[in-house]
Subunit: 190 residues, 2 copies
């Protein structure tokens, strides 16, 4: 980990233990996801969009602004859907690859999650690392990412893996992709 990591430096001084509150809150309400959706402007016609999201009802929107301030990135926005909740829903969301690399991932590497969300975070971090090396712009890398993210908190099967582009390719039966990710991730940590 970088020794000059600036995440929440001011807040940590003012509120000792706030990092662990963030970890606990994200263990409860956070979501690391890697949706892959059609985008004709992308080289392969598919966009990989790693997202870190926390949702709250309107009465607690202030904690989303605290998260935004703490991580020093992301946006707080209003959800269009209510999803059976009685109050309006809001989200804190980080989508920028640079913010994931510099802010979100280093924080949760230094302050590990305690629930099974830790596994989702691991896949998320591996995908971000692959994207930093532009592996998602190759057919094999894109397919590997779709396979890796199938096990995450998703209910529907990957649209990419069900698409004709993916079906035309043979399955990745070796572990080469995973080794590449691990090597890249170790490199990123140096």
């Amino acid at each position: 980990m970088s020794s000059d990591n600036p995440i929440g430096a001011d807040n940590q001084q003012e509120r000792p233990g706030f990092e662990q509150w963030v970890v606990g809150f994200v263990d409860g309400e956070g979501c690391f996801s890697v949706p892959i959706f059609r985008n004709p402007t992308c080289r392969l016609g598919w966009q990989v969009q790693p997202e870190f999201t926390v949702v709250q009802g309107g009465r607690s929107v202030h904690v989303l602004h605290e998260l935004k301030q703490f991580f020093g990135c992301g946006r707080v926005g209003h959800n269009g859907r209510h999803d059976n909740h009685r109050e309006d829903l809001f989200h804190f969301r980080v989508r920028s690859l640079g913010d994931h690399l510099r802010r979100v991932i280093p924080f949760f590497v230094a302050n590990p999650l305690k629930t099974a969300k830790r596994d989702d975070f691991g896949v998320f971090a591996d995908v971000v690392s692959m994207m930093a090396q532009r592996l998602h712009l190759t057919p094999e890398g894109l397919r590997r990412i779709a396979e890796m993210t199938q096990s995450m908190n998703r209910k529907a099967p990957s649209r990419f893996l069900e698409s004709s582009e993916a079906i035309r390719q043979p399955p990745l039966s070796d572990r080469r992709g995973e080794e590449m990710v691990l090597a890249a991730w170790r490199h990123a940590e140096d």
Copy 2:
């Protein structure tokens, strides 16, 4: 707060910041509720049952056992319902009035929640304090508790307030009940 509060003493030493992880996790996943349901064995025919509950999927059941160890009370159990989740659900739940008074409430008074759940906790703590003084065994106290808990995280209206027992009584239009609770709570803190 009592200076010899034993909650999580061992854990705090081993894992600094675990208290704040607990606060964050409960801000995300915890629930303070005060269901009131018919029970013919109770003096007034209604039972008041303050509950502190945290629910997790099977992959994260280990954190519920950590909560049980941390608070030194409560039970971890299997939920009968799946509620649209793909995995089995488990709960950590505290129901004992003594455990609420000695373990749960002192912890969250010393380590306040940051989301709107803090309001639910406040009502929960007030009701527990009233019950410690056996006010729930009087018709006026029971009615007051039902009115206080109407604003909590409930979707259905109070069955007690809709019942004939409650309808026979005039509404509490003064603030006497609330003052009693506040006085009792201050007394309990001494």
